[in-house]
């Protein structure tokens, strides 16, 4: 059984012009200790998937269908209080801007100790000891001294390390990391990615790594889900998706990334832009931009289907192949 199972998740935003379907049947699984990358362009629904899982959808957004199961138990229908007990203890969260996760008025030590004691039965002394240990583990130099510093006394990279310590302090089974490195400089990004990878390996924590940056995914993830217009377009082992993408959207996306040593005059270009939520076309939502579109794509919506070894893609061309084969 997978650690986290998301099945046919639907999220809607009611507006005065009718409900907008922001997530339309998202299904994915995360296994114990696995890093699942969720990649997509802005508006694809990757962050919404993360917020829905930790029960922090911004109103008026709401889950209107599907199930989210953690260790086999449904968590999408829990009350706010029940969900709060799970957040932090079983699911940790790391967001893009470390400043929003830290209270500027308290020392990082106090925030760590409080979070630890909410979830673990430890004395103040023990909790402080654990906090110092955690800070050392995330690479804060001289943690026994820095534990009494305020968030603004840390640099951006160091703050993100503190946030990682905060997310890890109750030893959760899963961490949702939403663009954890986007706000950081490239050299710091590499440090944070390496740290996240090392810690999750050591603690056997599974990670759902949400990012727009295919480079970060390639460096970190075991498997990757590519999202487009509120749906999963393709899912599979990261190496396979990066080197042999199946879905035409993923193919275009990979070709659009400029690479060092990759001497091309022009980058592969996917024409047009991702549709707005109120203008999602019938059939496959990618069909107006797809170079391989055929009639069926314009009327019928493809679900994820096997597309060769290790691969699942929501694209009719694989259905055709399967039937012929």
């Amino acid at each position: 059984m997978a650690l986290l199972e998301v099945e046919d998740l639907r999220v809607e935003f009611p507006t005065r012009r009718g409900a907008l379907l922001a997530l339309d049947g998202v299904s994915l699984e995360i296994n114990e200790g696995e890093v699942l990358g969720v990649v997509g362009e802005s508006g694809a629904g990757k962050s919404l998937t993360g917020s829905a899982i930790i029960g922090l959808l911004e109103p008026p957004g709401r889950v209107t269908g599907g199930q989210i199961r953690l260790e086999g138990h449904r968590i999408d229908d829990l009350s706010y209080e029940e969900m709060r007990a799970i957040r932090g203890k079983k699911i940790g969260a790391i967001f893009q801007d470390p400043l929003t996760s830290l209270n500027p008025l308290y020392t990082v030590g106090r925030q760590l100790v409080e979070t630890i004691r909410v979830h673990l039965a430890l004395s103040l002394e023990e909790a402080r000891g654990l906090a110092i240990e955690l800070l050392g583990e995330v690479g804060i130099p001289a943690p026994e001294r820095r534990i009494d510093s305020y968030p603004h006394e840390f640099s951006g990279g160091m703050r993100q390390r503190v946030v990682i310590a905060l997310a890890l302090c109750a030893n959760p089974r899963l961490i949702i990391a939403d663009e954890p490195t986007t706000a950081l400089d490239v050299s710091i990004q590499a440090q944070i990615i390496a740290l996240l990878k090392k810690l999750c390996r050591e603690h056997k924590t599974a990670v759902m790594l949400i990012t727009h940056d295919m480079g970060v995914i390639a460096e970190t993830a075991d498997r990757v889900a590519v999202m487009y217009a509120g749906r999963v377009a393709e899912i599979g082992p990261v190496k396979r998706v990066v080197k042999h993408p199946k879905h035409p959207y993923t193919v275009g996306l990979m070709g659009a990334i400029p690479m060092v040593g990759h001497d091309v005059e022009r980058l592969t270009q996917i024409e047009g832009a991702m549709p707005r939520l109120n203008e999602i076309p019938a059939g496959c939502s990618f069909n107006p931009r797809c170079p391989k579109v055929f009639d069926r794509c314009r009327v019928e919506r493809p679900e994820l289907m096997p597309a060769g070894r290790d691969a699942e893609a929501a694209c009719w061309q694989f259905d055709k192949e399967a039937r012929r084969g």
Binding site: R16, R17, S42, R276, L277, N278, E279
Partner: protein, 314 residues
């Protein structure tokens, strides 16, 4: 997310765009706002068309009859349907004086707000966009003025004007002095808001783009920055109109406002006040009620506008 993630991408006619806008939607879904708008509109229209709307002309001595003086409202024992809300000591119809009075109140209020908006927005724009010593001088000036209550500033200006203006011209210029007094007393609020907004806009890249091609700073201020700071100013001006009407009423009540020959709501309340204890309550009550309703309606409109223009509260 963009500021208009679900917006319509087609270009439509202006009317369609208005009917489709978020502002119209929030307006049409707020009964209190609609009611306030209707009340405000009634005041504005009756003030604008007073000679045609008012049942009598209270300032035409030919139509006045002292025998009609102190007639109570129509529903009282001695009332007559000729004077719906009764008459005052000179036999003037209260309803008509209220209509003409709110005309004066609105003219003074509007002009004063216009004056302080032009002054405040102009100075705030200069301070915010140019910065440096201009900013320091303008904002310190505003700070100093804000430490003095607006009504005191207005009284001061009125006092100075009384000394400077010859006696026979006093009644003629009284209304302009009042507009100046209220207008000057209120500019710092507009200057502060405009400066804050201009500081934000100044650092946006569209301003840089204009600077790169060498557009003159004054042109950038007027054509680029000004249209983008007018939102908050509009909200402030709406609430400012209510405040200006109250300030005008206060000044007139204190006797330093418009002359009794051209009474505003404040003057009417002051005049009526003299008869309160002799039992002619209607002379002061109805102008007061009219003032409260007008100010409340304008204020509610301002509150709605503030919420509707602030995407964070939506």
């Amino acid at each position: 997310m963009s500021d208009n993630p679900l917006g319509v991408t087609r270009s439509e006619s202006l009317l369609q765009r208005i009917l489709d806008s978020d502002i119209y939607y929030s307006f049409s879904h707020s009964p209190i706002t609609i009611l306030s708008a209707v009340v405000t509109a009634i005041f504005f229209l009756s003030a604008a068309f007073a000679p045609w709307v008012a049942p009598h002309n209270p300032f035409d001595p030919a139509t006045l009859d002292l025998l009609d003086a102190f007639t109570p409202p129509a529903w009282e024992a001695d009332g007559t349907s000729k004077f719906l809300l009764g008459t005052d000591d000179q036999g003037r119809d209260i309803l008509s004086t209220i209509i003409y009075g709110s005309r004066v109140s609105l003219i003074v209020g509007f002009s004063a707000v216009l004056f302080s908006v032009v002054l405040g927005v102009g100075l705030g724009l200069l301070a915010g966009y140019l910065g440096g010593w201009i900013d320091s001088i303008v904002m310190r000036l505003a700070d100093v003025q804000l430490t003095i209550p607006a009504i005191l500033v207005a009284l001061m200006i009125d006092g100075v004007a009384r000394i400077l203006v010859p006696v026979h011209l006093r009644d003629v210029v009284a209304i302009y002095v009042l507009i100046l007094a209220i207008g000057v007393s209120d500019w710092p609020r507009y200057a502060r808001v405009t400066r804050g907004a201009a500081l934000v806009e100044r650092n946006k890249e569209y301003v840089s783009a204009a600077r790169v091609i060498g557009v003159h700073p004054i042109k950038i201020m007027l054509r680029h920055v000004l249209p983008n700071v007018m939102g908050p100013v509009l909200v402030l001006a709406t609430i400012g109109l209510a405040l200006a009407i109250i300030t005008e009423a206060t000044l007139s009540f204190l006797g330093v406002g418009v002359p009794p020959t051209q009474p505003s709501l404040g003057t009417l309340i002051r005049i009526g006040n003299n008869f309160l204890f002799s039992g002619e309550w209607w002379i002061t009550l109805f102008p007061s009620v009219a003032l409260v309703i007008l100010v409340l309606a304008v204020n509610l409109l301002g509150d709605w506008l503030r919420d509707a223009l602030n995407p964070k509260l939506r």
